[in-house]
């Protein structure tokens, strides 16, 4: 059986909102170490995965490894019934095809209970090897959203060029071109307050072209985290990671487009 209590429903809400337009369903893998899923979009271009470690729940109990097939649109509808500050308790009884969700408000005066029919999803688990990237960029997630949104008005893809100077996003369209350059900047502003700066750590300059349609999907995870980590190497999929506090993360992998000059 599984029983996991999450003190803030908003975390789960945001996670589901950030993937539901990309993939329609996924198997939630639950184990002693936590809850995770991995799902590829049908075009095989993007993959999203998330992990919430068991220490992010209180309490957390999972007797044996489980794989629970869930449709995101259903889960999203049900989570809309929860208040942002509600406590969520996820429960699963063995040999059942139902997952139940209990929402309690902070005063413990309002308790709602929902259940979701589980699906039998036939998907292959793809093991993604951890690897070193040629270039690691860290930047403000809201800045990243804004750039993707702005460039979408110009073209359908964006070229990301990372150099020692900074990271440049540029887009070409039928009616014009546009680019945004972010120079490396400290994480403390002039008044000494903490902000999210831009850092670029690299062994090689990297240049990749990516579909903006997907990036604008990924930016829906921005509310989860102030910053986004972009890990890139030339010619291979890019990893975008949004950390969920210190209890987990949501990751997106995106296959690059083939640039005309390649």
């Amino acid at each position: 059986m599984l029983e996991a209590r999450l003190s803030q429903a908003s975390i789960l809400k945001k996670i589901v909102e950030s993937v539901k337009d990309l993939v329609s369903q996924a198997n939630f893998d639950c184990s002693e170490s936590g809850i995770s899923f991995q799902a590829m979009d049908e075009s095989n271009i993007a993959l999203s995965s998330f992990l919430l470690r068991s220490d992010g729940f209180d309490p957390y109990r999972c007797d044996r490894n489980l794989s629970l097939g869930i449709k995101f649109s259903t889960l999203s509808k049900i989570l809309k019934c929860a208040g942002n500050d509600d406590v969520v308790i996820i429960k699963y009884e063995d040999d059942n095809d139902i997952l139940s969700l209990v929402f309690k408000d902070q005063k413990n005066e309002r308790i709602s209970e929902f259940s979701i029919k589980l699906l039998d999803i036939d998907s292959e688990y793809l093991s993604i090897p951890e690897q070193e990237f040629e270039c690691n960029v860290s930047m403000s997630s809201s800045e990243f959203s804004r750039i993707c949104r702005d460039l979408m008005t110009i073209g359908s893809s964006v070229v990301i060029d990372a150099t020692k100077e900074g990271v440049k996003f540029s887009s070409t369209g039928d009616e014009g071109n546009g680019s945004v350059l972010l120079k490396q900047s400290p994480s403390i502003d002039d008044d000494g307050r903490k902000t999210v700066g831009t850092t670029v750590n690299m062994t090689e300059p990297v240049s990749l072209e990516l579909s903006l349609k997907y990036l604008n999907n990924f930016t829906k995870a921005s509310p989860l985290s102030d910053s986004v980590l972009i890990n890139m190497s030339n010619g291979i999929p890019v990893l975008f990671q949004f950390n969920v506090g210190d209890i987990g993360y949501i990751r997106y992998f995106l296959a690059p487009q083939i640039k005309d000059d390649e």
């Binding site: 590829m40 049908e42 075009s43 271009i45 793809l126 359908s156 579909s211 999929p237 296959a255 690059p256």
Partner: protein, 612 residues
């Protein structure tokens, strides 16, 4: 970062990469001759088999071509193993026509529209729908769009190669998808194929789904290739002789006309070999035979030469729809259209009455007929336009307002026996023994057996008319006149009366010639003594000078044309139907052309039981 991969085999669009298999025969459909090219009467030439008739000339041409030049390196037949034929035959059947997932008569269609394809391309390649639309306008071919977008975007994991089975099965699933959110399901299925497409595969998948493969491959080529491949395969390393190839190809074409089902044909071919194919693959009620169609010819002379010193038969071409009726214990009574589509539901009113016209000893049969709309009270044939108002689907017998009558002209199968090897006169005799004439329901087509070509004249209406105007040519006929308005002369009223538009029977040379002759005769206004309907007003008018001899199928009353107006009907004229140009008559003056009263006589003497 790229992850382990499952390896599949079979190079999918092998064939499509070779865009020029055989030279397609030139298709000339200028004059469609109304005499049905039927089997000659006292025919002892047994390869002149009914269904094959129309392909025979062509295949001879093809044979000749093959002998003289190519050894066909274009089709990599040895690379294609036989299991794959099921797929490419059934799927890549026609380049310009519909690509099929099943034999015609099963009525299974893909049912994929442009919007569905565009959505699938967008979702498979990570583009917006608008991008797909705009690119499609630019490139003019969704297949190209799919390929360009697909090749432009990497995937996270290398995808398994597409197999023929996988594509074919998916096509089947798509055609079987129906009901709620079927569009979405189709999009997903198509998208999954496009995603897996390597190189140009996505292009051909999309084109296949569109029903336009555009590789210049006709069904006949596929049949030829099948025969050729089988013989080459059996020869194991040796080169088969031309005779062997020709024989195999002819056998396959022949069998296919009788049993248009690749699955059955190929299964039997592999199991029983080419020698026994004709014995195992026979005509059976329930599977429509490819109908014998009229053979297009360039000129009437060609037809006349063919029938010289022969006995032949002429038949009326009834103004209806071709129908093939099958009956046996196993299948009951069913009917098929010219395109082998099942039309049992549409014509259930006559099909269900088959007991009325079958003789007592007739148990199973396949007959070939024309179904026409029938006026029950006047006991006459109604025009095709009336027939076409009948419902096609979900017909309720008591709601049928347009009654129909069958005009039967051939029998292909009777009481368990194929009649295809029998000559037409024997088949006709059997037809008349096996069925009972039921006026207004089941009639035999009126025919005439003739010995000399001159006698055909009685079947065709010939007249001489004056060119009074022309229509600007479009398409192929750009720069010359595309059609002409003809008129006959009424000496009583001293006027030229429009009789028909004519657009067939001309060679390109003729058209160039007419341009030269007629252009100087152009006048700005029609002559005051031209009588014509506004809807037939030509683009240019001419002086009455050019006289042509034309032949027509028959004459009919027309509210549009003015010939013989006031003679047969107060306010309606007579028109020539399906007129064909024969020759210029320099020897006649415009006033000497067929007169209105002659036209009226011809109309009245038309011995047809059509409505008047």
């Amino acid at each position: 970062m790229y992850f382990p991969n499952r390896k599949f085999t079979i190079n999918f669009f092998q064939l499509a990469k070779h865009p020029k298999p055989f030279t397609p025969e030139a298709r000339d459909k200028d004059v469609s001759v109304l005499i049905k090219k039927r089997k000659t009467l006292e025919d002892d030439d047994s390869n002149n088999i009914k269904s094959e008739n129309d392909t025979q000339l062509n295949s001879q041409v093809e044979k000749h071509k093959r002998d003289s030049k190519e050894s066909s390196p274009d089709i990599p037949e040895d690379k294609l193993s036989f299991q794959k034929y099921n797929f490419f035959n059934e799927t890549f059947k026609k380049s310009s026509d519909l690509l099929k997932v099943a034999p015609d008569y099963e009525g299974i269609e893909l049912g994929v529209g442009e919007t569905v394809l565009m959505k699938a391309i967008a979702s498979a390649t990570g583009k917006n729908l608008n991008r797909v639309k705009s690119e499609s306008e630019k490139l003019g071919d969704l297949g190209e769009v799919a390929m360009a977008f697909r090749l432009n975007q990497k995937t996270l994991f290398p995808l398994p190669d597409l197999t023929i089975d996988k594509v074919f099965d998916t096509f089947h699933e798509i055609s079987a998808t129906s009901g709620s959110s079927s569009q979405q399901k189709k999009v997903e299925k198509i998208s999954s194929l496009i995603v897996s497409g390597k190189n140009s595969e996505s292009k051909y998948i999309v084109r296949s789904l569109e029903g336009k493969l555009r590789i210049g491959l006709a069904e006949k080529t596929v049949l030829s290739a099948l025969g050729r491949a089988f013989v080459t395969y059996k020869a194991v390393g040796k080169t088969p002789t031309t005779e062997q190839l020709t024989e195999a190809i002819e056998t396959i074409k022949h069998v296919y006309t009788q049993l248009p089902n690749y699955k059955i044909l190929i299964t039997n071919l592999i199991e029983h070999g080419i020698k026994n194919l004709e014995d195992v693959c026979k005509l059976i009620p329930g599977i429509p035979v490819k109908p014998m169609l009229a053979h297009p010819t360039k000129s009437v002379t060609e037809v006349l030469n063919r029938f010289e010193n022969m006995n032949f038969t002429c038949e009326y071409k009834y103004d209806g729809e071709r129908i093939q009726i099958h009956k046996s214990k196993d299948i009951g009574s069913i009917s098929f259209s010219r395109n082998s589509e099942n039309t049992t539901d549409k014509y259930k009113d006559i099909i269900s009455k088959s007991d009325q016209f079958c003789a007592s000893h007739t148990e199973s049969f396949i007959i070939d007929a024309e179904v026409v709309a029938w006026d029950v009270s006047k006991k006459c044939i109604l025009p095709f336009q009336v027939l076409s108002t009948r419902k096609r689907k979900d017909v309720k017998e008591n709601e049928i307002s347009v009654q129909v009558c069958l005009f039967v002209f051939d029998i292909l199968f009777l009481n368990g026996e194929s009649l295809l090897q029998k000559p037409l006169n024997a088949r006709r005799d059997l037809l008349k023994e096996a069925f009972i004439l039921v006026p207004g329901l089941f009639q035999f087509a009126i025919s005439k057996d003739l010995r000399s070509v001159d006698e055909i004249q009685n079947f065709l209406e010939e007249s001489i008319a004056v060119v009074v105007g022309a229509y600007t040519g479009r398409g192929k006929r750009t720069g010359v006149y595309g059609g002409f308005l003809l008129a006959c002369y009424d000496p009583d009223r001293e006027e030229y009366q429009s009789i028909c538009k004519i657009g067939t029977g001309f060679s390109e040379e003729d058209l160039d010639n007419f341009k030269k002759i007629l252009e100087p005769l152009t006048i700005n206004q029609p002559k005051s003594y031209y009588s014509y309907g506004d809807s037939t007003k030509p683009d240019v008018w001419f002086e009455p000078s050019q006289v042509w001899e034309v032949k027509a199928a028959d004459l009919s009353i027309s509210p549009v044309y003015k010939a013989a107006i006031g003679i047969i009907s107060e306010d309606k004229g007579i028109s020539l139907r399906f007129p064909r140009f024969l020759r210029i008559r320099d020897d006649k003056s415009p006033e000497e052309c067929t007169s209105s009263s002659q036209i009226a006589d011809m109309f009245e003497s038309q011995n047809l039981n059509t409505a008047s």
